[in-house]
Symmetry: C2
Subunit: 556 residues, 2 copies
């Protein structure tokens, strides 16, 4: 199964960004460690701990800083291209896992765990499929101090690991559908620049592999799964996606067709593949000899129809890119580990122990009420930090709701809140927190989706004149164009929209992007205006007729 | 973290067993595939599909057949020592995972995911600890067709992967406790004979790694976790365990002390390590420089106290060994994927479509009622199989409750059931299934535990005369003996209880076991009778005084 990752980012820009982020973080860690206690007084710590790059000005550097400083990931210093996923991001992945697992269980998909290694032998069986992965395979050649007789590769995906057993287990049409899924990690030793979540040499994912009697049944399932992938983005991550089918050029190598959900990054106007659900057709069942007797035609055998589908931790990266701002992460409430952070206000040296105790008790009472209402909260009782430092820290970490509670709030019997997404402030009577806070969190979730959805919609432009394409891309749009669906024409469109990157006198950050556009998907939802076989393909050099509106864009 | 696996099984017996199991399964698969439809009429298929070895007569062969034929695992033909975990066993692991995860979350343990690889450099840092794992490390030396500049090893456990970051992240005592856990798989390239679940070259587990300010806090947590491990065995798997501490000889290399839950396999009288929770003391924090300022003594620094604890898929193997019988698996209801299987009775060629439909509807109604009551059911509507074949098939798979439903049952408005664990049969009025079936499942769960607990208790014998030791072991007991706790004495006890395996004229299966006994644990629950410093150590050659009752036994 293929998991697309950004291909054509400017390497030098990314390397610089990565280096800068690492240096800043190391500096901060060192400073804090040297000080033994975190820096008190706010100002200095803020300078070191906060995001130092603007999202608009240097998006790649901003991204690297955000995921690192918010404590989503840590660079694995020992081996490049690997990252530690810390509790903040693992909570998101666990939430997604639970949600998706429950849905596929209801569909009848069962859990399995196949070995991590592929033998060289089974790789040979499906050469075409494996060809694409071959340069990225990690080979184990030694165990202890002994050379292995036959080297084994770590799975980059498990078709070749699993399908020999599908052949063994599927003996009759009554064994169909066979639907297995596993949650694991795969290794793809990327030669390209890596980026946390988006392109890493190891990543967590689920891979589903199913077998069906007919094309129709396989096709139905592929779409059911795609809808669940869309649900992960839209319902959990508040990220809008476009559902569609990949062109022949962009489909999974060795498969029959690929369905996909495609996202959009407003900051640079690029498309990004969200997750893919492939119908493999009978290609693999022929390679691996997976057959059953045709129930409609006794005595004759047919090859089963297969699907494979995968969703990886990349989703977290997309979410960060879409929602984050110059203060750091902005997390949708449904996937936030802490949904509301309490900051006690006004406690100082002059506060009597009794007053302090009462204040603490009130906050804990409110938190208990919220816990009953299903709200995940924490309270920041850390001493030696200013209120401002705490505000910045929790904003950096993206907590959706900050709840300030001071003695004045206690008198008025309210809590004061600030939304992370909009900065909007207000108060809620303590007596109503059990209903109002969950409502507010839902409002935040919906507002975040609505905002992102509007940005995507506004920047998904229908174009019918070739000369409008490049300006649209430069204005950070993806484009819907009438397209003939021909692979060579698609290659040509990419070439025609690639700028010669030869502007020696223009400073790096003022150069127009050079990247050509590629097809993102053929959206299932087709606007009017393309009459198959009548409308012209938009490529001025192409003489074929358009078949569909196809979404193109610069992309990851 | 160490995960013990069986060390001294007879290799030839195991190899034979494995081969026989594989051949039988392959034969069955081939026969079924050739027949296109599964063999009808029962007799022949039963012979092929059922368990062919008695648990009492050839325990290792019985075990291999059960885990394979029940469809818990599949041998990975491509690479020896690896196994596929199929849905039946993955359901058990998922159930354990959910239960344990919920409990550690409540304790404040957070989820993380560290990379799969260790660099050679970080390995050097903790040579003592790594020494034990070195012969089993799988080394990646190539990516694609290029040699890596520095080879990397797949984690056998993650101390060396994680602790450099503990040093970075723990800056102050306010960062304590740091409690992280990850669910993953580890690779240990065993040279010894592998056995599904018990000793495999890759296995699934959780590994928790925590850091605390004081020895006391670390010690408290180690015991809390141990109690959860005992809960997995006792409450989920219906397997009794003894809680205790390992002797110095048997503790985790590099740690401070190891707490453990120890199980018992009645069929061969061996002890088996269930799961271990280690207090690492300050040994690793000194190696990895994990320090904080001492809050009680400003200006001076102290090394943090660490724990690590792990539970692996080995638990499933222990459960199979304890509960299974000559018909196959016997699953405790709480971890069974299907808790009750419906077998429709009496439908044949003479049944009218209307009668059949009504029968089906009734069964589906009952199943809906049970689903509401939280009972996981399935119905076996497969055609072309005899009732007898179906009974055997579900018994093999260990489903706790078989529910037969024929036209006579329908008339009487009852269901007929048979318990998998005892074979006991009975009827339940349809109107009462929603309460009686869950009750019955709980009864089965408790009865299974009670039976296993009695077997363990009866075979855990307090011994105060040395000459009684060997007969007790030969009678499939583990023994509690007064012991001085000295490591050399422990080695000597093992040697003294090892029989010379030189009985050339005695047939293999009649030879007395040769394996010496080792210490399993120092049980927390100490019977009376040992007065530290007064009672003699049981080893007749030892002149030290006993310190504790210690559980010894032949073991995995």
């Amino acid at each position: 199964m293929s998991e697309e990752a950004p291909k054509e980012q400017s390497k030098s820009a990314l390397k610089k960004a990565e280096k800068a982020a690492k240096m800043a973080a190391d500096k901060a860690a060192k400073a804090a460690k040297q000080a033994a206690l975190p820096v008190v007084g706010g100002k200095k710590a803020e300078e070191i701990m906060g995001i130092t790059v603007s999202k608009a000005e240097n998006f790649p550097a901003w991204y690297q800083e955000v995921v690192l400083k918010s404590e989503m990931v840590e660079y694995y210093q020992e081996i490049s291209g690997f990252f530690v996923l810390r509790p903040l991001s693992m909570h998101i992945w666990s939430t997604i896992r639970k949600w998706f697992q429950q849905h596929i269980e209801e569909m009848g998909v069962e859990e399995t765990s196949f070995p991590i290694f592929l033998s060289a032998k089974s790789l040979e069986k499906e050469k075409d499929h494996v060809e694409g992965f071959a340069p990225e395979l990690a080979w184990v050649t030694k165990a202890g101090d002994k050379d292995l007789e036959v080297p084994v590769a770590i799975r980059p995906t498990s078709e070749a690991v699993m399908y020999p057993y599908y052949s063994k287990w599927i003996r009759s049409h009554r064994d169909l559908p066979l639907r297995l899924n596993q949650w694991n990690s795969v290794v793809r030793w990327e030669a390209k620049q890596t980026t946390p979540f988006l392109r890493t040499r190891e990543f967590l994912w689920q891979e589903g592999h199913t077998a069906h009697l007919t094309e129709e049944l396989a096709g139905e399932e592929a779409l059911q799964i795609l809808e669940l992938y869309a649900g992960v983005y839209e319902q959990l991550l508040a990220v809008p996606v476009v559902r569609g089918r990949k062109t022949e050029n962009e489909k999974f190598a060795g498969g029959y067709y690929t369905t996909t959900v495609e996202g959009y990054i407003p900051s640079n106007g690029r498309g990004i593949q969200g997750a893919t659900s492939h119908c493999l057709g009978q290609n693999f069942s022929k390679m691996f000899d997976i057959t059953v007797e045709d129930p409609a035609n006794k005595g004759s055998h047919l090859h089963v129809w297969q699907n494979s589908w995968g969703l990886s931790t990349r989703v977290i990266g997309v979410m960060v890119m879409v929602h984050g701002d110059d203060k750091g992460l902005v997390l949708p409430p449904r996937i936030a580990k802490i949904q509301a952070i309490f900051i006690p206000i006004g406690i100082n040296k002059n506060t009597t122990p009794e007053a302090k105790k009462k204040h603490e008790d009130t906050i804990e009472d409110i938190r208990a009420t919220l816990k009953k209402a299903g709200v995940r909260t924490d309270a920041d009782w850390r001493e030696g930090y200013t209120i401002g430092w705490k505000f910045n820290d929790w904003e950096l970490k993206g907590v959706p709701l900050r709840i300030e509670f001071g003695f004045k709030d206690a008198e008025k019997e309210v809590i004061s809140f600030a939304r992370r997404d909009t900065g909007e402030k207000g108060t809620i009577p303590i007596s109503e927190v059990g209903t109002k806070v969950p409502e507010l969190l839902e409002t935040i979730q919906n507002d975040m989706y609505t905002k992102a959805e509007a940005a995507f919609r506004e920047h998904r432009i229908q174009i019918t004149k070739w000369e409008e394409v490049l300006p649209a891309l430069d204005n950070k749009n993806v484009v819907l164009i009438p397209f003939c669906l021909d692979g060579k024409c698609e290659d040509r469109i990419k070439a025609l929209t690639t700028r010669e990157d030869n502007q020696p006198d223009v400073p790096e950050n003022q150069k127009a992007p050079a990247m050509g556009m590629k097809s993102l998907c053929i959206p299932f939802e087709q606007p009017e205006g393309v009459v198959a076989g009548e409308t012209e393909c938009l490529n001025p050099e192409c003489e074929r007729k358009a078949q569909k509106w196809v979404m193109f864009g610069r992309s990851y």
